[in-house]
Each structure stands twice: as structure tokens, then as C-alpha cells.
Symmetry: C2
Subunit: 181 residues, 2 copies
């Protein structure tokens, strides 16, 4: 059976600076009509930056949806049409001051495929050297460095909850174990 739904209509309810929200009316594989609420997002990048000492560059950043400070790898939103790798290199330098000699893809993830088309491109950066920190207006964050194994222990203990951070650090951990990084 083909599970694809046929689009009957798309109705935009909100168009914003970051997200758009639309309600699609679809025909299901069973022939019924149904509505689907979809949040359109430009996507973004997340970067595991590894220092020459083997530490990971981390950030503590305020996240409005939770009104709380989260512990995350450096990340940023894509501008529409922007190359994800260029975006990742720019965001890493702007937020942490680091440039990287090596900047390789770790794949991508769909954070919330049930309701959003957001796609996050993951990278691992090595050969770090000092660039120029330059944060966006109204962007406040602290930068720290921590050993990967300590961060993996925190993930297992449940004290790191940001999905892109968990995915990218556990992927790097598995790649190191396989001697692929």
C-alpha cells in the first residue's frame, strides 16, 4: 500500500520571521479527507567542535520555549538558500570565536517530523584556531569546553536533553570508537 497522502489544499495561517504555519487538507490512503498542521522552518546546523586537547566546545543558552538555559553544541538557523556548511562555519566562529581547519559532515536529522519540516545538518570541526567572535544582537550565551566522555556520561544520566546535542555527540562517540574520526 502506498502511504503517501494527496494534497487537496494548503492554507497558511501564519507567516513569521522564523516559521510559517499552514494547515493542509489531504486525502489519506484510505480515501478519507483529513487536516495536517505543518510548521515550516528554514532548518539549521549544529557543530561538534573538538579542540586539540580533545575537548568539546559547548554553550549554555536561553531557550524561550522552556524559559530555561540549555546545554548545547553550537548551532544556528539557516538563511533560506544558504549552504549548510558555510552557515556552520560562520555560526561556529560568530558564537565561539573558533575557526576550523577541518569541517566534515555528520549527516542530518529531522527533529520533529510529525509536524515540522525542520532539517538540521550536523558537522564535526577539528583543527580549531582563533577567529573573531561576533554575536547577533540579542544573542546571549556562555561558551565552555568539556571532555566528550563526560558529556556522554551526562547524556546517559539524562542531564543533556537537547536532541541535536545528544545525536551529534553520540554519533561522534560511536565514530571515534570505530576509528573513523
Amino acid at each position: 500500500m502506498d502511504f503517501h497522502e494527496k494534497t487537496l489544499s494548503k492554507d497558511y495561517k501564519f507567516k513569521g520571521e522564523v516559521v510559517n504555519l499552514r494547515v493542509d487538507t489531504v486525502k489519506t490512503p484510505g480515501g478519507n479527507s483529513a487536516t495536517r498542521e505543518i510548521v515550516e522552518h528554514p532548518g539549521g546546523v549544529a557543530i561538534v567542535a573538538i579542540t586539540d586537547e580533545g575537548n568539546i566546545v559547548m554553550e549554555r543558552q536561553y531557550r524561550r520555549p522552556f524559559d530555561d538555559i540549555l546545554y548545547e553544541v553550537p548551532a544556528g538557523k539557516l538563511n533560506y538558500g544558504e549552504d549548510p556548511k558555510e552557515c556552520g562555519m560562520r555560526e561556529l566562529e560568530e558564537e565561539t570565536g573558533y575557526k576550523a581547519k577541518s569541517f566534515e559532515s555528520l549527516g542530518f536529522i529531522y527533529p520533529s517530523p510529525g509536524f515540522s519540516n525542520e532539517t538540521l545538518h550536523l558537522y564535526v570541526a577539528k583543527g580549531l584556531y582563533q577567529g573573531e567572535m561576533h554575536r547577533d544582537k540579542d544573542e546571549y550565551l556562555d561558551v565552555e569546553e568539556a571532555p566528550l566522555q563526560e558529556l556522554v556520561d551526562q547524556i546517559i544520566a539524562g542531564t543533556i536533553s537537547d536532541a541535536k546535542t545528544v545525536v551529534s555527540l553520540l554519533k561522534v562517540n560511536e565514530l571515534i570508537r570505530r576509528n573513523k574520526i
Copy 2:
């Protein structure tokens, strides 16, 4: 410096069946006013169900935001106020037909903390036995079983992209390695 933003106003632009969208006006730590687009979501659960043969129960499901079939662990949305564990046990049985003797927490993740308050509760289910499959109207999916190591290889190769699936399988992989499952 305290990074918390002070709420000046909350303006609901859309209230739907699954998500609400609001635009907050806030005062930043630097004293400027700024707007934040927030998608409210009820949250959900995802389950790593391990058969007695050591295989993982997986699903292939259509995801409207990508107009594509994704390969995921069983998951479902929370009803507001519902206990996540009860929800997880119900969704596992409804979607796959499996009940579980053991149903333990794997923690939780925030899939998209930049714009959504969605929280996903992760579980590992063992001691599976046959219950009663009962899918929602307009819910179409295929259920399969696959060895964990094959799924981890697919994650590393980049062919599994759903964040909750990557997080929960890599966590289970790490816990098995530490003899904690």
C-alpha cells in the same frame, strides 16, 4: 549575567488540534525588546521495544512535512495531562500489537528547543508479548523488526534521520555496552 528574558506580552496567532503558535514580545538581558515565535506542542513518547530475539521493533510511516516515508521507532503524541508511560504502553500496543512486561524510562529530549516546547519521553520495552493492534483512523504504517547493530550501522551511514529514533537507539546501544540494559 542572567540570560532569562522577561515576558512583555504573548499573542496567540493560531490554536489548532495539535499545535498552537504564539508570538512573545520579550525584554532581552541587554534591555532591548524582541519578538519570539513559539510553537506549543503537547509532547509525546517514543519506544525502543526489544524482542526476546534481541531485535528492535521499527515502523515505516508517512510524514506529511517531508511528504515521505520515514523509518522510526514507535511513537505517539501525548494527550494533555496524560501520563507519558501510560501513553507509551498504549501507543506501542495500538501501533505494533505488542505489550511489554518491562517498560523503563530512557529520559526525555527537546527536539526543537529554539522554537518549540515539545518534549519527547523515551522508553525501552522488554518482555514483549502479543496484545491487540488498534490503529487510529487515518494512521497507516508498516511494522518491521531489525537487529540493533544493523540499525546503529544505518544511523552511522546516515540512512536513519528521525531524531527521536537516533537518540533512543544510540542511548540503548550505549547502555547495553555499559551492561545497564
